[in-house]
Amino acid sequence: MSLLELDGVKVHFPVKKGILFDRTVGHVYAVDGISLSVEAGQTYGLVGESGCGKTTLGRAVLRLVDVTDGRVVLDGTDVAQLPEKEMRSFRRRLQMVFQDPLGSLNPRQNIESILSEGMAAHGIGGNREERREKIKEILAKVGLPGNALSRYPHEFSGGQRQRIGIARALVLEPDLIICDEPVSALDVSIQAQVVNLLEELQKSMGLTYLVIAHDLAVVRHISDVIGVMYLGSLVEEAPSDALYEEPRHPYTRALMSAVPVPDPEVEDRRERILLLGDLPSPANPPAGCRFHTRCPWKQDTRCATERPELRDLGGGHRVACHFAAEIASGEITRTSGEVVPAAHEGSGGSGGSEASGAPRASGASGGGAAKGSSSGERASEAPAGT
């Protein structure tokens, strides 16, 4: 049995209007029927763009928002059904690490008080002295010195504050740690420190993570399994490597093709599938496949009318697209969506301006002449990333 199982979880927020009477005029379908499971000792990464509902899903697991429908089962217990009193002690088993380390730490509490608060509430760690020992041990694990105990959050750098946030979760010995954008507020060099720390802790302590993030490269790096969300639903789920090697859902393909890689050689060849338009509002999601308004492979049948279920294509690869098989085999080709062949030639010269060596290349080689190849080739062959 998996440590965490979500079964058809929905979170709908009512949209209210009116001054005297709160009249519900609609719903925001933030999470709209998600089923997934997280195995003990593993990392499940949830990716998606802003507003796709990933944070709401994390909060639903913690029961920080009410689940409209569906079940959230941790280690055999349905979290959504627990009476409030039992939930209070159950919360210890589910901890969260937040995006903004400073905003989530009380500035007036010193580190010892921040870390011991939860322990005292849950009766962990015996007396004050024993608790202090335990806190010191955890601080060492997250790479903070023992003398951090008497300091305050503002005395630490962003990366260190995130270590404090992680320590605060760890002292409660949770079964599952939900990390919501754990590194996105940090500089790249600090991100890497925190990512490595999360991985080391997982190895040494056998932790289970649900990592929620928008950065596909970070998520792929730390996750065993990745779920891709779009407008409240899971559109694809696969082991991390399989998802990268063979993204099967059109949205996943577009998403992966959009991530810039810090390597000009790759960048110049990387084909980008440019999606048309913006994300529809989750208050008014499109009928049928929620991605059909932007899907470059959209078909006239089914896509606009029938909502695709997540189907297992084997090897733990689940995809919610009516035409995943046909798209993979090339039977169906793209009907819209621009593909950019990414032939960026810099300043007009065939080898790019840097071939000339001088950093202050002569003004004459300006790229004004190179007409944009980017504006429209609607190529019909299969996109990159497959």
């Binding site: 763009e49 990366g159 991100q191 810090p262």
Partner: protein, 385 residues
């Protein structure tokens, strides 16, 4: 002659009784750092710092001086002698992590720093005239005509209570002398040009009615309304989703290719730089530490900071399972440039010579590839992925 030639730009905030005297104080002597004074900014205790198991935690013998170099008194030297140039139609990147001085550099060039409290030094010649020495009226005229800028947060640069259409036509009226219906038509065409669907309707809408991506497009439309020679973009896609980022980057490329606009791209994202910039300048603690054409820079990162940055980034196309190679410590572990290399407390190639004054920019690998380091990474080994 380059379109924009920035030479030893310095920006100092605060300090004793200094004030911005743009344009009058031409002979400012390069204000030297006045000894080991404390810099303003979040005071950090060195003992708590640089302790992560992630980076080899060791006690560097180098004293840290807080963010941005000290500049005497309680002044903060946010930009500390930055030089680079932008050619006609070229895309030049300024990359670095938070607090390295990228935004302050762009604000200084645009004449948008507060006149009180910010002291400028050096030169920034745009078409031969020094932007730093220009009076407020002259630089305002230049802004929105030959010089334009877009920001990370488009909402803050749009007027929330004025319809988009009015804001765009306003620019056309002011800078291109257009009127009434002609201006409105041109505005609609501009929105269409930057990929805003249904431009006539959008012109009547207010900024908050547009999505983040649409707002950034509207801002780009306003920026290109007068066919600027140079567009400065400060983290233009950082607040956007990655699929929208791809659209905006494509739009910027098109502008450069088709209109010949030069682009100064300010970003922390080396991925964005790799695909977009002809020339890349890496900033650390207010100074350019490495500068090169993009292919050479990414193939042979020579400054240990650049090298470390590239090792820190998880790549979507890299094999999984290897730990990342972070740079240890944080931006707070810094020494004053006047005393040595500001990166020394975080550098694993540090040697005694690193602490005898500011390292010079040299070309240790090949002509045109500059690095500010006494012990640069020269091996042609691949970048740690």
């Amino acid at each position: 002659m380059p379109l924009l030639d920035v030479d030893e730009l310095t920006v100092t905030f605060g300090g004793r009784g200094r004030r911005a005297d743009r344009g009058r104080d031409r002979d400012r002597k390069p204000t030297e750092a006045a000894g080991p004074t404390e810099a303003a900014g979040p005071a950090e205790d060195t003992s708590v710092r640089a302790a992560g198991p992630a980076g080899p935690a060791e006690d560097t013998s180098v004293r840290a001086a807080g963010p941005a170099g000290p500049a005497g008194g309680n002044a903060v030297r946010a930009v500390n002698g930055v030089s680079f140039s932008v050619d006609e139609g070229q895309v030049v990147g300024l990359v670095g992590e938070s607090g390295c001085g990228k935004s302050v550099t762009s604000l200084a060039l645009m004449g948008l720093l507060p006149r009180k409290g910010a002291t400028l030094g050096g030169r920034a010649d745009f078409e031969g005239a020094d932007l730093l020495a220009m009076g407020p009226r002259r630089i305002r005229d230049l802004r929105g005509s030959k010089l334009a800028m877009i920001f990370q947060d488009p909402l803050s640069s749009l007027n929330p209570v004025v319809p988009i259409g009015v804001q765009v036509t306003e620019i056309l009226k002011r800078h291109r002398g257009m009127k009434g219906e002609a201006a409105r038509k041109e505005a609609a065409q501009l929105l269409d040009r930057v990929g805003i669907p249904d431009p006539d309707r959008r012109l009547r809408e207010y900024p908050h009615q547009l999505s983040g991506g649409m707002r950034q497009r509207a801002l780009i439309a306003m920026a290109v309304a007068c066919a600027p020679r140079l567009l400065i973009a400060d983290e233009p896609t950082t607040a956007l989703d990655v699929t929208i980022q791809a659209q905006i980057l494509e739009l910027l490329k098109e502008l450069v290719d088709q209109e010949g606009t030069a682009l100064l791209m300010i970003t922390h994202d080396l991925g964005v730089v790799a695909g977009l910039c002809d020339q890349v300048n890496v900033l650390y603690a207010g100074k350019v530490v490495e500068s090169s054409g993009r292919r050479e820079l990414f193939a042979h990162p020579t400054h240990p900071y650049t090298h470390g940055l590239l090792g820190s980034i998880p790549r979507l196309d890299a094999p999984r399972g290897e730990p990342l190679n972070p740079i240890r410590g944080s931006i707070n572990d810094q020494i004053a440039w006047a005393d040595g290399c500001a990166f020394a407390p975080r550098c694993d190639r540090y040697e005694m010579g690193c602490l005898t004054g500011t390292p010079e920019l040299t070309e240790p690998r090949e002509a045109g590839h500059q690095a500010r380091c006494v012990n640069p990474v020269l091996a042609t080994t691949e970048v740690p992925a």
